[in-house]
Subunit: 165 residues, 2 copies
DNA sequence: CATTTTATGTCAGCTGTGTTGACATTCCAA
DNA sequence: TTGGAATGTCAACACAGCTGACATAAAATG
């Protein structure tokens, strides 16, 4: 709709355009993680801790199994991260009432504070970029990113919209 | 132009919108790297090798120092990667004519073949996403990503446009 | 010419985060 | 009740970041 970009179009699908897109992803992702990374490294944490804290904040009471699906890592890898978050009192696990094998995860006050500090840093950059680019660009940004996800991950992503619990 | 998104606008800057953008970056980047990762792991390489090969292909004759700047890693880390690429005959280093301290990097035929296989895989996904999203969305995508980069990295990124050599 | 700076490489060692494999616990269903 | 499925833990390994220390050769500077 609108914008026929030159009759036969498809100029945006040339290898050169695609390469630019690939490099844009690479450089932008560096920026995207830079601010949280600084905070994390001062605490001897890494991105894995950030991701765990983010999704526990996002879906309080989620189980380890859910987190495994969302994060796409092995349970052993996640477990190492969770253990350090437990030990440092950032995340709390409560045994499931129905199924006692499950552990439901919650941020402590301290964990919530870290989450806030990380996501504040990340949101500042995001907000600045969004504002500079404008709402239409933002919509395009989200559209392309969604199309780039694996279908399984896209479902996870979209599912999170409606599943605050 | 068009789409005034609700008078006072700025609805796209709410924390909830920003969080969606953050998660979109996270899930999309997973998709973005998934296909090359599969090829790489079958060769006992990792993303670090992919990045090196990509930028050597992109700027043949680039020096180790240039690569360090672009990749943003330490020389020790890059050196480990480059050494394995030399040993496996994928990348070739030629001593500089003007400055003999510099080593200029080139892909061998074998290295170019790997680069092609990696970037083909990545481009397929990119092209599919671009086509599904349309040219206007792609433009917005690129605009937001550029705005998200660190200024230094943005210069690197934009500089690559004009500097095939 | 002597000195300093630059570009590069190498060795050792540490960290974070991914992996497999083996095993324990809990739940549920045959 | 027994066996499989889901879940979590411990051990060990690989990769790719990192810092620090040191070496060498070339270039730039005094």
């Amino acid at each position: 709709m609108a914008e026929n970009n030159g009759g036969e179009g498809l100029l945006f699908l040339t290898d050169e355009q695609l390469r630019k897109g690939i490099e844009a992803m690479f450089f932008a992702y560096r920026g995207f993680t830079a601010d949280p990374d600084r905070i994390l490294s001062s605490l001897d944490y890494g991105r894995a801790h950030h991701r765990a804290v983010h999704f526990v904040h996002r879906s309080p009471g989620t189980t380890v199994g859910n987190l495994l699906t969302i994060l796409g890592v092995t349970k052993q890898s996640l477990n190492r991260v969770l253990r350090s978050l437990f030990d440092d009192g950032l995340v709390e696990a409560r045994v499931g009432k129905k199924d006692k094998r499950e552990r439901h995860l919650y941020l402590t006050e301290k964990g919530a504070a870290l989450e806030r500090s990380l996501s504040d840093a990340q949101r500042v950059r995001m907000r600045t970029a969004y504002r500079a680019a404008g709402p239409q660009a933002v919509q395009g940004f989200r559209t392309v990113l969604e199309a780039m996800m694996d279908p399984e991950l896209r479902r996870q992503y979209q599912g999170l919209k409606e599943t605050p619990q």
